[in-house]
Amino acid sequence: MKEETESISKAEHPKYTSKDFTSSQDVRWCPGCGDYSILAQMQRTSPDLGIEKEYMVWISGIGCSSRFPYYMDTYGFHSIHGRAPAIATGVKLNNPKLSVWVATGDGDLLSIGGNHFIHACRRNIDLKIILFNNRIYGLTKGQYSPTSEKGKKTKSTPFGSVDFPFNPVGLALGAEATFVARTLDRDPKHLQEMIKKAAEHKGTALIEVFQNCNIFNDGAFSLFTDKETKADNVLILEQNKPMVFGKNNDKGIRLNGLEPEVIDLSDGKYSVNDVWVHNENDKNPARAFILSQFSEREGLPLPIGVIRKISKTTYDHDFHEQISEVKKQKGKGDLRKLLFSGNMWEVN
């Protein structure tokens, strides 16, 4: 039976359009929700990923974002709260040829599912995880989330939250994720680019999408998405490019020891040569971690783009490699030999 599955021909590669990835289900997110953009960019990008649509699998947990698989015309599994990475792990381990994607939210991935998330990263199993981070619980109607800022007033924190938030990028880096990127729902092109880069990566890939919940946390990211403020507050990371930002590209990031600082490139004191050059493949995770902390600091812009991408063998690969090795060493399993083994005796 297994052989049959594996022999499914990949010969014909149909020319897909975004429609081929659009299911017949009505999309039921609130009008104006940032999720629509993520879905649209995914559907637009999917035809270009070189993945046969029957090989694409979407796994989700619980939350607004987790309705995502219903809207993709691929294989999909809307599971239970927090468990998407674990279910996706089983799907991928059993059939590593599948391209397995996880749609999840800040509560789903970082609160109830935090354990599965860090362990997926640690193993470097080949999953693509898209984190819809709106810094609020939407589906349960407005409680603070593990990414909500301290002091946030919500239904469950009427006097302000006394909880510190997680930094998802920092958490992923700490858990040894091999691909970590951040993007914005309101920047469709950038979002598409991140999807493509994650798809190309072999190993656990996290894309954190800052996603606006216009009902319960409207404007949470407006500083980074509004035309007037975006340029001065967002740093677009590009491989081997100096970290320059600002309306007139007149600001840069300089790494002073371990301290990042904004330098003015217009007053002649500094030039672009003083600016930190981004290397997403840096073996040492320290610089990536410094970048991950930017958003938390006064005066530093929000880095978006690929923060880290390193190459490491994947868990699913090694998992099956070991099985092949054992088969080679011991020979393909012989059931009779297995049952008739150990200390045996005859009764006549």
Binding site: V57, N94, H116, F319, L339, N343
Partner: protein
């Protein structure tokens, strides 16, 4: 001196010592040799939850009981005929279980002031009349081992660790068993440590010859091979048998076996055993936690694996929500619950049957799963295959109940020819035409359409579904329809399982019913009473949800129904509520199996009431 050899029908031996004394190993070796000699046997390992409890303490005592016989036996024996006690604590803990007149072989060298105090003895009990009625054989086990190994080049500590082999050798002599199987085992086990191997061999032989030469033993014993059905046998534990059963089922279905598991006592050995057999395309995944283990299994099932998760009661509790997801998404999944004493962490290394309610009912919503139970170590093999047959045929989760006693206990298993085991037909949906994710076949099973199949892209999930289309549906009537459909699907399995079998029901007023690992003790109790001319019917449940079709009919035939269980009466409760019959619950909740006599006495008491 030629010693008398006395023939015996059956013997129960218990080895007991510190958890570091190697008692489990000693017991296992004695068991394997006894199996090779051709006796029928049954074992009861009993060890503390602590890996190395402080030496000499009563709570650190580890024991291994073995019952062997020249005829068919069902239990590890109620009361040992012989106790091998490596220290005072072992003697103290086990004394109460011994048969009157039992032989007690003690390591006299361990009876020093410190150990006596640790065991709570004020005076040396060997020096007063504490053991009147027992036959105490003091053997300087430590000293003899040290003397035998003084030229071994090993340290005093290493030499001391060989004393269990001395004891084993002595017992081999006493019960006329060959030393060769253990010598062979030592060679292979310690092949990288030749000095240790040599020392253990020497200690084993020294023990054997000690028996032959000392005047402490005037008699040795002999137990003839049992007249078991013709065939090739091996000794097998419940956990091993489950693993082999699952591999067999994987071969018979043609599906790759995927195990998602998280280590937990007493289920971990299934994970260990399956991990050895990757050449059968077995995929074992040690997950980060119990929930991830079952979730990964569900994911693997979605993508076309024979998906299994193995755990014990606390693990099932953690997996409950995910099992509900498998019910809702109608995916085949096997959940193995090797039960232990509960609630909470409870008694991790002790046996109990207290998860039946959890298995049948323990989920949110109306979430029926099939529940079946293994009754003996060897029966675990067939129960595993049956669980797979049902799960794949009906696209349902199946809960397979085992327990600590049958998981760790062992018995001779007549190995079946693989060809004699039927194939299990599984077909993935390939046909695009007319496909819908929740289409139904004649068994109400939905199609298994695995990712990678072109044209069958579909979505499943935990939200309520429309029948056939599988679309999310919140309509009131649809929900009731689907709840009833899922229940009916499981209920219909009663048409595909054997009737509840009743033995010796002619003219009996009394039926004894049980389920799972109590099979041995109940059967032996019933057999003994029948030998005394008492008429008793017996039935043992393998299928607990759904119950066999004839269950109600069977139960209604008898005046009294006695139900011994290692819990507060969980099966009894289901029988009472489902079939409206009176059930006499007989319960033991001590973390240990029933003794045969306990069940005998209960039955006799009920008979007494009837007269």
């Amino acid at each position: 001196m030629e010693k008398e050899v006395l023939g015996l029908n059956d013997v129960t031996i218990r080895f007991a010592g510190d958890s570091g004394d190697g008692m489990q190993l000693t017991g296992t070796q004695f068991t394997n040799t006894t199996a090779l000699v051709g006796n029928d046997l049954s074992t009861l390992p009993d060890y503390p939850a602590e890996i190395r409890a402080p030496a000499g303490t009563t709570y650190g005592v580890s024991g291994f009981q073995l019952h062997f016989s020249n005829s068919d036996i069902q239990t590890p024996g109620d009361s040992p005929d012989v106790l091998v006690a490596m220290n005072p604590a072992a003697l103290k803990v086990n004394l109460k279980d011994l048969k009157h007149g039992a032989a007690i072989i003690v390591n006299i060298n361990s009876f020093d002031a410190k150990n006596l105090k640790l065991a709570g003895y004020e005076n040396n009990p060997l020096e007063d009349d504490s053991f009147e009625g027992f036959e105490v054989v003091p053997v300087p086990l430590s000293k003899l081992t040290t003397t035998a190994l003084e030229d071994s080049g090993l340290s005093a500590k290493e030499i001391s660790r060989c004393k269990n082999f001395f004891a084993l050798g002595l017992m081999y002599w006493l019960y006329s068993r060959p030393v060769e199987p253990t010598l062979k085992w030592i060679k292979s086990k310690f092949k990288d440590e030749p000095m240790i191997a040599a020392a253990n061999e020497k200690a084993l032989l020294a023990g054997y010859y000690y028996g032959e030469n000392t005047e402490q033993f005037t008699t040795r014993y002999h137990v003839e091979p049992a007249k078991l059905p013709k065939g090739t046998y091996r000794n097998i534990s419940g956990n091993e048998a489950l693993a082999l059963g699952f591999i067999t089922a994987s071969v018979k279905t043609g599906l790759p076996l995927f195990l998602g598991s998280y280590p937990i006592t007493p289920a971990s050995d299934i994970l260990h055993e399956l991990s050895k057999h990757k050449n059968f395309d077995v995929r074992t995944f040690q997950a980060e936690d119990e929930i991830a283990a079952v979730s990964a299994a569900i994911g693997a099932s979605f993508s076309g694996a024979l998906a299994i998760t193995t755990t014990s009661g606390p693990g099932v509790a953690l997996k409950s929500e995910a099992i509900g997801l498998a019910v809702m998404t109608e995916l085949p999944l096997i959940i193995v619950d090797v039960q232990r004493g509960g609630p909470s962490t409870g008694l991790p290394t002790k046996t109990e049957q207290s998860d039946l309610q959890q298995a049948i009912l323990g989920r949110n919503g109306e979430a029926p799963v099939v529940v079946i139970a293994a009754s003996t170590p060897a029966d675990c093999f067939y129960t595993a295959i049956e669980a797979v047959r049902i799960a794949t045929k009906y696209m349902v989760p199946v809960m397979l109940m085992s327990d600590g006693y049958i998981a760790n206990g062992s018995e001779p298993w007549r190995i079946p020819e693989p060809d004699s085991i039927p194939e299990i037909k599984v077909e993935f949906r390939k046909e695009k035409e007319g496909f819908a994710p929740y289409l139904r076949d004649e068994n109400f099973a939905r199609p298994w359409a695995v990712p990678g199949t072109p044209g069958l892209e579909h979505r499943i999930g935990g939200l309520e579904k429309s029948n056939i289309s599988g679309n999310v549906n919140y309509e009131p009537e649809n929900h009731e329809f689907m709840v009833r459909l899922r229940a009916q699907k499981v209920k219909n399995i009663e048409n595909d399982i054997p009737d509840l079998e009743v033995t010796d029901d002619v003219d009996s007023n009394i039926l004894v019913v049980g389920w799972g690992g109590t099979y041995g003790s109940i059967t032996e109790a019933v057999t003994r009473l029948r030998q005394r001319g008492i008429k008793i019917a017996q039935a043992h449940f393998k299928y607990l949800n759904p119950f066999p079709k004839n269950t109600g009919m069977v139960l209604n035939k008898y005046k009294r129904i006695i139900c011994p269980e290692l819990n507060m009466g969980q099966l009894a409760r289901f029988l009472k509520s489902e079939f409206l019959v009176e059930v006499d619950s007989f319960n033991k909740i001590q973390g240990i199996p029933f003794k045969t006599t306990e069940i005998e006495n209960k039955i006799l008491a009920v008979i007494g009431e009837l007269v």
